[in-house]
């Protein structure tokens, strides 16, 4: 309704309705074509530059909520790229757009030089996805889950069989090949999801919170597996809110806050900017953290103050906190 109380028509919704029935308006078709031409050009550029993932000015709006507000990322071949941020920062939205599960409002995404909107099938062949939620067929066996994946990716039966054995051995699940998925533990299911994502030999592996809900021992086993996959030449795009996970695994880290990348560098360089040591101490209005270049400086500072304190090394969380004023949770 306008100020005078007259009903107003939401043209964007009308256009969406027409698009649903295949009656695209000239305006929308023209805009889409223009956008696609530009993004294909960018993807061609990323092919020549040898960028494995190229994201340019990615924007995603959900009605009135701006989930992504212009994200730019370039991921190099063979690196582990961690995408770090608190819950609701837009990590999963980015992965969903990059893997074609969600439509971007604007911007472009290329995987190994293929545009995810324009060259959908080629782009989808380039990556494997391990989503946050376990999405295996629980009633089927480990082998059956993998066979279905192979068929979805147009693999030949002989190729599927040989890859299944090799990958199950790789993720240490070969003896579970004939077991129903529902009989596996949480960690085994995660490893099976990784094996499934690797079955068709993707160049890029997207891992969306791969260790969420797992106990520390299993988490470390998954980390070792991720490192092993990287040594095989696969590029890994990882989202996590576990600081130590990003610190241990990532070659480069992007901090995401409120839909924006606020910092992008190697974990070491992001932490270096603060110092090497930190003291957490209780103050009147909560906790204060002070950073120091050396341990000696930190200890000297503490002798001057008598409050309760903790001396520790600087971590990525400190860098994130320093940039955004928030903790990664």
């Amino acid at each position: 309704m306008d100020k005078k109380g007259n009903p107003q028509i939401d043209l964007s919704q009308s256009v969406d309705f027409l698009v649903f029935w295949g009656l695209k308006t000239d305006v929308k078709a023209f805009c889409n074509q223009n956008r696609r031409e530009k993004t294909v050009q960018l993807c061609n550029l990323s092919r020549t530059e040898k960028t494995m993932i190229r994201v340019n000015n990615l924007i995603k709006n959900y009605k009135k909520v701006e989930a992504l507000a212009g994200v730019d990322i370039h991921v190099k071949p063979g690196e582990i790229f961690a995408y770090l941020g608190p819950n609701g920062a837009g990590k999963t939205t980015t992965i969903r757009i990059l893997t074609g599960l969600t439509q971007a409002s604007s911007g472009s995404c290329c995987i190994n030089g293929f545009n995810i909107e324009k060259e959908v099938r080629q782009a989808k062949q380039q990556y494997g996805l391990v989503p946050q939620a376990i999405n295996l067929d629980q009633e089927l066996t480990v082998q059956e889950n993998l066979i279905i994946h192979g068929w979805l990716y147009r693999m030949k039966s002989s190729e599927i069989s040989s890859r299944i054995d090799a990958l199950l051995d790789y993720v240490e699940l070969l003896e579970k090949k004939k077991s129903q998925v529902k009989t596996l533990s949480g960690g085994m299911k995660r490893r099976l999801m990784v094996a499934r994502a690797l079955l068709h030999g993707p160049k890029v592996l997207f891992l969306d919170e791969p260790t969420v809900g797992l106990d520390p021992a299993i988490r470390r086993k998954i980390w070792a597996l991720i490192k092993k996959i990287q040594t095989g030449g696969t590029t890994i795009f990882l989202t996590t809110h576990y600081i130590e996970e990003a610190e241990f695994l990532a070659d480069r880290v992007a901090f995401l806050d409120q839909g924006r990348v606020v910092a992008l560098d190697s974990p070491e360089r992001l932490m270096e900017s603060l110092g090497a040591w930190a003291i957490d101490r209780l103050v009147e209005d909560g906790m204060e953290t002070v950073y120091f270049k050396t341990r000696n400086d930190a200890e000297r500072f503490n002798t001057l103050k008598s409050e309760q304190y903790t001396l520790r090394r600087v971590n990525l969380e400190d860098a994130f906190l320093d940039l955004t004023g928030k903790k990664v949770k």
Partner: protein, 245 residues
């Protein structure tokens, strides 16, 4: 495209195979009760168009069961989508939307055909001999095609598994009772008959019954079912695209 259809179909069949021992009794129980209650208790001594009520009822039950079992694929899709999140695996894979819909529709049609075999066997046990020829199977395939396609489309539109049971109550249950399954619709007032003639199940019941009872079949019913099936299939493909967000 074929690879995608096979993958989706193969998955549904693997799941069905695991459940088959539980599924067959569940497919048998309703037709058995209908045959016992309606045929022996209610329809005893009743004759319709020169046939016993049992001969009239079994083709209706076949039409109804092929509809409900084809439509039941919607529940499987919803479980995969909302509970197991497997739909994301299909969305992320390089298969086309037509392949996805094709695979699910074929799976729905297969479920329908298997459930019909159970009714045919029950009919045989109840001593009813009907003509199960080519016209019968074509009508059956078309009916299950229509409702499996509708099921895929609606499964993409609903927002939760609870919505699915609401659709069953509003669409499938009324159609099951009013689509010429248990009684001839020409016995109803003309306005009601005209309305019920708009339902695809009415045409499926007519076509299946005519084929079973060696009566002349109406080509119009076959053409109409095919056209509605194609329409629902294309809507289902559109709905898969819209299910992206």
């Amino acid at each position: 495209m074929i690879h995608g259809i096979i993958a989706i179909y193969f998955r549904e069949m693997l799941i069905l195979r695991r459940r088959l021992t539980r599924q067959i009794p569940s497919w048998s129980i309703s037709p058995f009760l209908y045959l016992t209650a309606f045929s022996y208790a209610v329809g005893h001594g009743v004759e319709i168009e020169g046939h016993t009520y049992m001969e009239f009822l079994i083709p209706g039950l076949i039409a109804m069961s092929s509809m409900t079992q084809a439509f039941a694929i919607a529940s499987e899709i919803n479980i995969a989508r909302f509970y197991w999140h497997i739909f994301e695996e299909f969305q992320a894979s390089p298969i086309s939307k037509v392949s996805y819909v094709g695979g699910e529709v074929l799976a729905g049609m297969t479920r329908a055909m298997l459930s019909i075999l159970v009714i045919m066997a029950l009919g045989f046990l109840f001593g009813v001999r009907l003509n199960y020829g080519l016209a019968f199977f074509i009508a059956l395939l078309l009916n299950s095609f229509v409702f499996a396609s509708l099921a895929v489309a609606l499964a993409m539109v609903v927002k939760s598994h609870a919505d699915q049971s609401m659709l069953n109550s509003f669409i499938i249950t009324p159609m099951a009772f009013l689509g010429g399954t248990f009684f001839p619709i020409d016995r109803l007032p003309s306005w009601a008959g005209a309305f019920l003639n708009l339902l695809p199940l009415t045409h499926a019941s007519k076509a299946i019954r005519a084929a079973c009872l060696n009566q002349p079949v109406s080509i119009f019913s076959y053409v109409l079912l095919f056209a509605i099936g194609v329409l629902f299939f294309s809507v289902a493909v559109r709905c898969v695209e819209k299910a992206k967000d």
